[in-house]
């Protein structure tokens, strides 16, 4: 276990060149291949990308629940723990903790919690939601069952679940999708974590329910003073919730910027292409969309050089398809990994 002393104004979580790989029968997958960004206290960071870009695995790697024990991890994930009396404590590298050891378990749920896309399958179908929430409390606090139950009901009320006293004894299949997601949020937040990893929390929901859930997350974030990592493929959700955004493509963070800069002045050709390809409500109707050409390459067959070079309209032959660009800082808080803005700390494919 490696503990370092870092100034107290340091971020809550800092990812440094995070890498996660899996050996599957079909081949080796670099699911996350160099993700570096940090999450400040009280901030919402958006992580966007298309399916297979590694955004979910990034979150799961932070909690150390990505895949099985045979996944290969690299880089650092420095997390500032909370002391017993709620003040900032020591910094641990989450990746160096034993996979299911005592320390990571004391962080999971208590300091970093996670909610998922499918609230139906995220709850055990044969236990009441109350049972599952109470368990979450008792795992981290030495309270009696009755106390835990009272806390759980209180939390259900806070996620605006009507009839919380009765619904606490409901089974997941007895609730609607929106209610299940509320229960999920209640379970995740019941121990007042410092960081909430929200993995596509509204993708499976209807628009009006999505609006309710996003408003709820925003409100609870303010109340509990936590940070949120909002993982989504929906640029609209990011624009409305996040202060800073990391754009991922094939396991790499290609651009990191504050939300205004990202939407108004995107630098990476992928970010630009992504923004040009979505229809925007209220935009002059009829304007033609500009799609990114081609498909996301298979994770088993990553292109050489910059992962985006095969689809990039500005790709420079002999450069982009040879070397991997490193992150280049354009201005404070805005980094981009693209040769158009410099090479960054270039690493060649061969060197890996």
């Amino acid at each position: 276990m490696q503990n370092q002393t870092v100034p107290s104004d340091s971020p809550l979580l800092e990812l440094r060149d995070l890498r996660t790989g899996f050996a599957l029968r079909e081949g080796y997958v670099k699911a996350v291949d160099g993700a570096s960004f940090s999450v400040a206290r009280g901030e919402t960071i958006g992580v966007v990308g298309e399916s297979g870009c590694g955004k979910s695995i990034t979150a799961r790697t932070i909690l150390r629940i990505a895949g099985t024990n045979d996944s290969e991890l690299g880089g650092e994930a420095l997390f500032r723990r909370r002391t017993r009396d709620g003040r900032p404590g020591e910094v641990v590298d989450l990746l160096k903790l034993a996979p299911n050891g005592r320390e990571i378990r004391s962080i999971r749920g208590a300091e970093i919690a996670m909610i998922f896309q499918e609230p139906m399958t995220a709850f055990s179908p044969v236990h009441t939601i109350g049972n599952q929430i109470i368990e979450a409390i008792q795992l981290h606090h030495p309270v009696s069952k009755d106390e835990a139950r009272a806390t759980a009901i209180d939390m259900l009320r806070r996620v605006e679940m009507s009839n919380a006293e009765r619904r606490i004894d409901a089974y997941p299949h007895q609730l609607s999708g929106g209610m299940r997601q509320r229960a999920m949020i209640a379970m995740a937040l019941v121990c007042r974590p410092q960081l909430l990893l929200a993995d596509e929390p509204t993708t499976a929901l209807d628009v009006t329910t999505q609006a309710q859930i996003l408003a709820l997350i925003r409100q609870l974030k303010a109340e509990l003073g936590m940070s949120v990592m909002m993982i989504t493929h929906d640029l609209g959700v990011v624009a409305e919730t996040a202060q800073n955004v990391a754009v991922m493509y094939l396991g790499k963070v290609v651009e990191y910027a504050d939300v205004r800069a990202l939407f108004h002045d995107p630098k990476h050709p992928y970010t630009q292409a992504l923004l040009a390809s979505i229809p925007k409500l209220g935009r002059e109707a009829g304007a033609r969309l500009h799609p990114v050409k081609g498909m996301v390459p298979s994770p088993f067959n990553r292109p050489r050089g910059c992962p985006f070079n095969t689809r990039c309209p500005k790709a420079m032959p002999g450069v982009c398809d040879v070397d991997m660009p490193g992150p280049t800082t354009i201005k404070p808080g805005h980094t981009v990994s693209c040769f158009l803005y410099g090479a960054g700390d270039t690493r060649t494919e061969a060197a890996q």
Partner: protein, 395 residues
């Protein structure tokens, strides 16, 4: 799980990336991709099945068993009914490569046997006569038989030239009949009864399952109740009850078919459920609706869409149903309520092993049981492999 996380919309089958739509895209491994891209369902299943080494081996064993069943007269060295009182309960003949003088022979050989009664126990004891070597030979003339009822022959796959020397590879029974020849002959009935029974169950199953799935509603509900009812009954007593009612004067062939009918009367339920389950799942598939909306006729949808879609599953289910039938026939015959002498099946042969004293005296009487186990295991592993390969498109 990983696959689910990694790619929501992307097939990551067999390690080959999806082809690209844009003609401008470089296709580096074009040939390799091409093979996979144009591989039909059966080819994909074969790729998948091949990886299952044990299932492959067991498939070969099953094939061998059926080849044996087809050519029993030729493969068995003797007529299974040929009695030899002098050889009652004779132990398996030992096949030697090294003779009494310690010389090595490339061709395996056996010694003649003489029997004498032990003066103390009054049991027959067999002693090898090491003076003469009788080599084992291929394609030996011996007992004559009528092959498939078509022509007479007397050629056997292997044996000993000297008609006075009997080869008992798996020993002899009470009447001195060659167990090996009898087991080989038993293969025909035991292996085929499984096949015929499964075909019969399949016909019942596909008709009933099809009706159930096609009409749905109340018909389906009633059929489901019937299936549940049959499945909730203990089968062996039921089989026994039905088999006991077969007239004693029926011929082997009549009994044979009666037994298969009895076995399939109960065995069809599993297959009907497979058929129904697949039919219901298929009904939900968009491509069936797409075919309908394309103007494709109902018959063509059934023949070209539905049937091919569950063919592979049905074949796997059928394979897995064969061993159940084999066990059932063996059990019935073993209890004396199935096939009877003079029919020869593994179950009939095992009747000889009912008596503890005979087994103690001649453990080789259990050999037909070993064949049952081999056949059942081989079919189980083979069927398991088929089932795993049955859906190459599973995501």
């Amino acid at each position: 799980m990983l696959r689910r996380i990694l790619g929501r919309g992307q097939p990551v089958a067999a390690g080959v990336p999806a082809a690209t739509a844009e003609p401008t895209q470089p296709l580096e491994t074009e040939t390799e991709k091409h093979d996979y891209a144009v591989a039909s369902e059966w080819e994909l299943m074969w790729y998948k099945f091949k990886r299952h080494r044990l299932a492959l081996i067991c498939g070969v064993v099953v094939l061998l068993l059926y080849v044996v069943a087809a050519f029993v007269e030729f493969i068995a060295p003797y007529n299974p009914e040929a009695q030899n009182p002098a050889a009652a309960y004779q132990a398996p003949t030992r096949v030697h490569f090294v003779d009494a003088e310690g010389n090595f022979h490339l061709q395996p050989f056996v010694y003649g046997t003489t029997s004498q009664r032990n003066p103390d126990t009054f049991e027959l004891e067999f002693v090898e006569d090491t003076s003469v070597i009788h080599p084992l030979q291929l394609f030996v003339r011996g007992d004559s038989y009528r092959m498939w009822g078509l022509f007479d022959a007397n050629l056997h796959l292997f044996g000993v030239e000297d008609p006075n020397v009997r080869l008992y590879l798996l020993g002899a029974d009470r009447q001195g009949r060659d167990m090996f020849s009898r087991i080989v002959h038993g293969t025909r009935i035991s292996m085929s009864i499984g096949l015929v029974g499964v075909v019969m169950s399949f016909v019942i199953g596909i008709v009933v399952g099809g009706i159930s799935g096609y009409f749905g509603g109340t018909v389906d509900l009633v059929v489901q109740r019937i299936i549940e009812f049959i499945r909730s009954m203990p089968t062996i007593p039921l089989w026994l009850g039905l088999a006991a009612a077969l007239p004693a004067d029926w011929s082997i062939l009549q009994i044979y078919f009666a037994i298969t009918v009895i076995l399939s009367l109960i065995g069809w339920t599993g297959l009907a459920q497979v058929v129904r389950g697949r039919a219901l799942a298929l009904r939900e598939e968009d491509f069936i609706m797409a075919a309908r909306l394309s103007g494709t006729s109902r018959t063509r949808i059934i023949v070209r869409h539905m049937v091919p879609s569950f063919m592979s599953h049905i074949i796997a289910a059928l394979t897995l149903a064969v061993p159940e039938m084999i066990i059932a026939e063996t059990a019935l015959s073993f209890l004396g309520l199935g096939l009877r002498y003079p029919a020869i099946s593994w179950g009939v042969l095992l009747q000889e092993a009912q008596n503890l004293r005979s087994i103690a005296l001649a453990p080789w009487l259990l050999a037909p049981g070993a064949m049952v186990v081999i056949a059942v295991l081989a079919l189980n592993f083979f069927g398991d492999g088929l089932r795993d390969a049955a859906d190459p498109y599973k995501r």
